[in-house]
């Protein structure tokens, strides 16, 4: 589902969950099965090595009913390979996302596109004769807004990292 449509139709609330997991084969399947079994749609999922080599980090944004979320967190925590699972939907964590957007554009449009990019502090990272790739980073909402403005110019490809998140201060992510 594209971010723009998502904004227009908030069917179900979006949640952000961080997981600290054993870095072993199969852990991703085990985690995603918990979501699918309860009918949750995973909107984005980022997996990366943790600070200690034996563990990985996952940041998951997903949509589904609030009441079910508590169950999902508990089912995730129950997995032997999940060290902890934390719901960050309501806390004020630091969040960031990176997006790459390719636009096919005439020279005349290019200036307008770069104008929008500048406003969102996005960079043009590749120029072709008829295309440009923009790289933006910031909150997912900011990226949503930029994409909405760019859409009329024709985005041919969009790749987003998905939300990355870290709890502030001494709180655990």
């Amino acid at each position: 589902m594209s971010a723009a449509i998502e904004l227009a139709l908030p069917v179900q609330p979006i949640h952000t969950i961080s997981l600290f997991v054993n870095n072993v084969p199969g852990v991703l399947v085990r985690v995603s099965l918990v979501f699918s079994r309860r009918g949750f749609n995973i909107e984005s999922l980022v997996v990366s090595p943790g600070a200690e080599g034996d563990f990985s980090r996952m940041t998951v944004t997903c949509s589904g009913e609030h009441e079910v979320l508590e169950q999902i967190i508990k089912q995730l925590s129950k997995l032997v390979d999940v060290v902890h699972a934390i719901d960050h939907s309501t806390d004020n964590s630091y969040e960031v996302e990176i997006a790459l957007a390719k636009l096919e554009c005439s020279l005349s449009e290019r200036a307008q596109i770069l104008q929008i990019a500048k406003h969102f502090k996005a960079r043009a990272v590749d120029y072709g004769p008829e295309s440009v790739i923009l790289q933006a980073n910031g909150s997912s909402e900011k990226i949503d807004a930029m994409i909405m403005l760019l859409r009329p110019y024709g985005i041919t490809e969009l790749v987003r990292s998905g939300k990355l998140l870290m709890a502030r201060g001494k709180k655990t992510t």
């Binding site: 997991v21 099965l33 079994r37 508590e70 169950q71 129950k78 032997v80 902890h84």
Partner: protein, 581 residues
């Protein structure tokens, strides 16, 4: 270990054990006495190693039977049951058994052969992505990628399977790893940072529960499988007596307190006793001791104990707020929580309440017609009188299971074994064989339907070969009885796919396997034949040729509330049930 020393070459040229041998040695260190299984190419290194092991291999006739045997062994002894099968179809045949064990929290370890590591994912002969297929039916699983990990994996598997809320664990072993030399040292350590095992409960919710119990006038103790698993028999009884509260159990909670105890109202739920259900419907407080508020006991949730205080003791935190929102939840082992709770309990003012429960017990006893042919209920009632709770009873799934739950009163934990959560037909007979291996000095009776028996009957060979004293009572109504009952009640008696015409003569069938076969045709034969089978030192099949069209009552239709309980067969047609299955 003698075995390792035997394999030392006298020429100092030490021969290392194979991975398969190492794995079997690890099982020996875990105290495994039996392995239930059936071989194939990928499992050969491990089967070979078993020849030199103290572990006894029980060759089954089907892998599903092996899983249920391991399950019956585990549930009756409290020790994990172990299964060994080959790759591909051998492994997929264990899926039903793992689901059964998962749903009922039984500790089993399923070890599968797998294709060689270099062929993984290349559609090798008899390759199946067993780890992938089984994710939803295991508590945890391992695909062994490196022989040096064998000791750690086996130790972890046993730890995970048997602690906390027990469950099935799968170990998938590629054949090259089973064959290659492996001298990885044994280990006793477990490092699982993501795995916590709750034990004692927190003080504060326990104190809160004690206060609520004291203030209750109409309390009910709802006892589930968690109480059996944690060995809370004594604690449950002490609590009930101290509080003077009636006790009801789930299908799997049977035996957590002696069902002949005056405070025990029997099983509640869909086919529970009317008096247990009435007590639950009317209570002002219900405390689940290791029960998970399954839909088979709650019926329609909105109506279930709507105004009663709810307390929930469970070792699995994911059970809290899953079905009901308890007023107090206590995370911990049922026995340990009760032991902390009991000293804080004062006798509640429940005299009127107990009197009311007794009235219901007298008003709505379990009953069945004494005329008109042989009845399953009569046979089971007499088996209860014969065994007096001393035998281990296993059941299959269907009408006979519910009648057995009603009429065979479990006197102690781990004496009642039934597939509850999964409702797996074919479970009854092999689980009895497993229970018999684990309890050579006890009598074990399987109670099965003619339908379910035919799903795993080939294990008659296993019972025969090992001369087990296990008995199998077939309640033969020549129907998939429970299906026929639902069709009669909810589908205008349009019987679809429930008539088992073509059934074999089960007595002759038993005899063909070398097993004694006895038949009960008339009520007058019941006691004599049951006794004959009971006293026989070998396996016996007893076929009770019961009336074809009998129904289990009381019944709360799926998704209905307790108030809609049918004590006997209703006159008119009924609406289709709305609840799960």
């Amino acid at each position: 270990m003698a075995k390792t020393e035997d394999s030392l070459d006298p020429e100092m040229n030490q021969k290392l054990p194979t991975g398969g041998e190492r794995l079997i040695q690890c099982l020996e260190r875990e105290g495994v006495e039996y392995i239930f299984g059936l071989s194939g190419g990928a499992a050969m290194p491990m089967f070979d190693a078993l020849l030199d092991s103290s572990i006894k291999l029980i060759l089954t006739r089907h892998e599903q039977g092996a899983t249920h045997m391991a399950d019956g062994y585990a549930r009756s002894t409290g020790r994990p049951g172990v299964v060994l099968v080959t790759s591909g179809p051998g492994a997929t045949n264990t899926v039903t058994g793992m689901l059964t064990a998962l749903m009922d929290s039984a500790p089993i370890i399923v070890i599968c052969g797998q294709t060689i590591t270099s062929m993984l994912g290349k559609d090798a002969f008899q390759e199946a992505d067993v780890t992938g297929i089984t994710y939803p039916v295991v508590k945890h699983s391992y695909l062994v990628k490196d022989g040096s990990q064998i000791p750690r994996i086996v130790r972890e598997a046993f730890h995970v399977a048997t602690t906390g809320r027990p469950g099935p664990v799968l170990i998938d072993v590629p054949k090259d790893i089973g064959q290659d030399p492996c001298d990885a040292p044994f280990t006793d350590e477990v490092f699982l940072p993501g795995y916590q095992v709750p034990s004692r409960g927190e003080t504060q919710p326990i104190a809160q529960a004690a206060r609520l119990l004291r203030d209750s006038r109409r309390p009910v103790l709802y006892v589930g499988n968690g109480a059996v698993i944690s060995g809370a028999d004594k604690a449950v009884t002490t609590l009930a007596e101290k509080l003077r509260a009636p006790v009801v159990t789930t299908l799997l909670g049977k035996g957590a307190m002696d069902e002949t105890h005056p405070l025990h109202l029997g099983m509640f739920g869909m086919h529970g006793t009317a008096y247990a259900n009435k007590a639950v419907a009317d209570c002002d407080l219900i405390m689940s001791i290791g029960g998970r508020w399954d839909d088979r006991v709650t019926g329609r949730l909105e109506d279930f104990c709507a105004d009663a205080v709810k307390i929930h003791i469970d070792i699995d935190p994911a059970e809290f707020n899953k079905i009901v929102q308890p007023d107090v939840s206590i995370l911990g082992d049922a026995r340990l929580v009760l032991e902390d709770l009991i000293p804080q309990i004062e006798m509640a003012d429940t005299a009127d309440w107990l009197e009311q429960c007794e009235k219901w017990r007298k008003l709505y006893p379990l009953k069945y017609p004494k005329q008109g042919g042989l009845r399953a209920q009569h046979v089971l009632d007499r088996l209860d009188a014969l065994t007096e709770g001393q035998a281990i009873i296993t059941t299959d799934v269907g009408q006979h299971q519910m009648w057995a739950a009603q009429f065979l009163r479990a006197r102690s934990g781990r004496h009642w074994i039934s597939s509850g959560g999964a409702g797996t037909m074919g479970f009854g007979f092999p689980s009895a064989i497993g229970a018999q291996f684990g309890n050579p000095d006890k009598k074990v009776w399987a109670i099965v339907g003619d339908g379910g028996f035919q799903m795993t009957l080939m294990e008659l060979a296993t019972a025969f070969i090992h001369k087990l004293p296990v008995n199998c009572l077939i309640i033969n109504n020549n129907f998939l009885g429970m299906i026929r009952q639902w069709q009669e009640m909810f589908y205008d008696n349009r019987v679809s796919g429930a008539d088992l015409e073509g059934n074999p003569d089960f007595v002759k069938l038993a005899q063909a396997y070398g097993v004694k076969g006895l038949r009960i045709r008339r009520p007058a034969d019941v006691d004599r034949i049951l006794k004959q089978a009971h006293d026989d030192p070998g396996p016996c099949v007893v076929v009770a040729e019961v009336v074809k069209e009998d129904n289990v009552f009381p019944m709360i239709p799926a998704g209905a509330s307790i108030a809609e309980m049918l004590i006997e067969k209703p006159k008119g047609p009924l609406a289709k049930p709305t609840g799960s299955t």
